[in-house]
């Protein structure tokens, strides 16, 4: 099975997105789906050219994805596992179910 590709985007792809990715990875582990997803960080310049199934980013960078069809999730607190669960978990589980 191909793993679900979850992209995390910030300006340079190495600071805040890295922190958000760590929080997201924690949630994936706690939900026991970490083996089924692949998370990666990308900078704002190359983000739209990537192959991904779902994107996490901040409100300021959401405009980059105006024309893409994949689900977009805006996170306000990059350190909050609760916010990631609330906004992203249903979408991730639905994707995994549909692509078994």
């Amino acid at each position: 099975m191909n793993r679900m590709k979850i992209m995390v985007v910030c300006g340079f792809g190495l600071g805040s997105s890295m922190v958000l990715r760590m929080t997201l990875d924690d949630v994936m582990k706690e939900e026991n789906i970490d083996k089924e997803v692949e998370t990666f960080c990308v900078d704002s310049y190359t983000a739209t050219g990537q192959d991904f199934d779902l994107v996490f980013t901040s409100n300021e960078l959401l405009y980059l994805f105006d024309n893409i069809k994949q689900p977009k999730i805006v996170i306000e607190n990059f350190l909050s596992k609760d916010e990631i669960r609330e906004k992203g978990l249903d979408l991730i589980k639905k994707f995994l179910d549909e692509n078994k």
Binding site: C10, F12, G13, S16, S44, S58, E76, F78, L79
Partner: protein, 147 residues
């Protein structure tokens, strides 16, 4: 451990800052003074906020200031400053900011361990609260030893 990446020279508590740019520059000056980056790296951190918006304010009251390795990083390093009076970055949800972490990485990988330790510490909300109110640098360093 988080304390491996920070010492007394890299922490300033209850700093007075005029605005967000002044705050970012003060955090960055600790990196310059310690030899972790060139002056232009701090200019690049400020420029990043100006051009891409305040996305670096990644949690309520908390900014992670940085730029790219090629903007003048000389060595892996991080600084922590708290502000006496919080400043506005223009972040709709996460202003005002009273805690600024600045860092520079030499590539896209080598700072991951440092950020991981930092995130472990910051994910505990009481730790953020402690840091914001702290007045003793040795106490802060001591709290970093558990992460």
């Amino acid at each position: 451990m988080l304390s491996d990446y920070l010492n007394e020279e890299m922490i300033r508590l209850k700093v007075k800052a005029e605005d967000w740019e002044d705050a970012v520059r003060q955090g960055g000056s600790l990196l310059i003074d310690a030899g972790f980056c060139e002056d232009r790296y701090v200019d690049a951190m400020v420029e990043a906020v100006k051009t891409m918006g305040p996305y670096m304010v990644m949690a309520p009251g908390l900014a992670l200031a940085h730029a790219r390795p090629e903007d003048g990083v000389l060595g892996l390093g991080m600084s922590v400053i708290t502000l006496e009076t919080p400043v506005e970055f223009g972040s709709e949800k996460n202003d005002p900011v009273s805690l600024i972490i600045s860092f520079g990485g030499v590539d896209h990988e080598s700072h991951i361990g440092m950020l991981q330790a930092l995130a472990r510490f910051l994910m505990v909300e009481e730790n953020q609260e402690f840091l914001r109110n702290a007045t003793s640098i040795p106490e802060v360093l001591d709290s970093f030893k558990d992460y």
